[in-house]
Amino acid sequence: MIKLENASYSFKKGFSLSNIDLTIDDGEFVFLIGPTGSGKTTMLRLIYMNILPDSGVVRVGKYSSNSIKKRKIPQLRRSIGMISQDYHLLADRNLFENVALPLHVIGYSKSDMGDLVIEMIEEVGLTGKENHLPDELSGGEQQRACLARALIKDPDIILADEPTGNLDPVTAFDLVKLLEKVNAEGTTVFMASHNYSLIKSRNHRIVEIHGGKLRS
């Protein structure tokens, strides 16, 4: 479960998130919608504790922002799969190596991870491209690679920050369907987007943010 209780955060340059109250239950699929600069990314950063709230509390599973120790934050992040508009794939590693990276972080041996990675690449529809470098993949393929990397560690939560921002409408729709498939298997999905037309037809809860404040 993700729970933000009266959470606020201010940047030095002036923008702030104010008194955010939000609960996302386990297994739920929630869209976070709002214009560019409304605070969507900041809210996601609060959830994966890249930043901690100035006031209020953020709770993710058993972790709470007011009591978590710095060295425990990587463990929290291992239960969260992050995908973003910029992919953050490593340009000098092929698809297989990019997808396998989280398993190295967890401590899998090379022999144990091979089948898992192949399976995950197959699940996102990129079979046959294991040896391709990111710049040899299309935007949609890179985003699916990013999703495979997020899913391989079997996370409880997927946080998606404008994952369709660089994709054409068809590819964007395919990605949302892929996320729904993941959600159907029990993973909580929280996806930020400013593309209302893409999400309005999906049957999921929509939370709207504007100027750092949530609207019902």
């Binding site: 060295r71 969260i80 992050m82 953050h88 340009a91 190295h104 972080v105």
Partner: protein, 288 residues
Amino acid sequence: MDKFLFLFGEGIKNLWRHKLTVFTSVFSIFLVLVVVGVLFIAEQNTQKLIEYMRSKYKIEVFFVDSITDKQAEQIVLEIRKIPGVYSTTLITKDQALQIYQSQFNEDLLEFLDYNPLPSSCVVNITRKKDGLLHVKPIINKIQSMKGVDSVNHQGRLINRIEKFYEKGLLGLSIVAFAIMLVTVMIISNTIKLTIYSKKDLIQALKMIGATNSFIRMPFILEGIFQSVLGASLAAGLLYGAVFGVNVLLGQLTSFTLHVQWTFLGWLFLIAVVISLFGSSRAISRFVK
């Protein structure tokens, strides 16, 4: 263990993945270490060179004609006690005559009824002395001795060499210090630039839940590999250069470069310590 092997492998693979930045980094480490090494060798050999020069310094003391061998021996003993004098060799009148005969193949006594050559003494100056060696006081003291007729010396030349040595030593120390500072800055900045160019990797690793030590380790290992590589190349070049210079010097003079090769160990240590310091500082900007 799997994690460690992965991180170790990553450190090595990164050398190949980032060939250009690694080349720049290794090359700059190599260059500064060569300069540091040359200074090391110069410092080690300056002392040897000045000792070599001092071994060539000679003061010739001629005694008055009326002096007996016994008196001359007595004066030579006095000269030997002067600080800065390394050794003395007495040449009696008879010995001088023999030397003359052997060198010129002429017997002076054949056309002169007496031996005109005076007793003399060759004075060698001490070689091992840190800092400037003043020969003028030694010469003055010898000249003031009773029984001494004249003193032949290269006082001016010796003074010049000694002053040059003193200035050289000071200059070398200043340059060495400046180079060391520049070395620290160059190596540490090169590593910093390498790490800045990998912000994406650090960001990705953070997002997938890598611990700080997991993120740091490959960078630190890569930094160490680079510095060891740079230091190895520098050590190879210095060793080869000293060998070549010695072959050349051996044909021209008896002076050869003397190097305590343990300094190469210091070279490696300097490189590794600086790279550790540089990479830890640079990575700490991204991993807090």
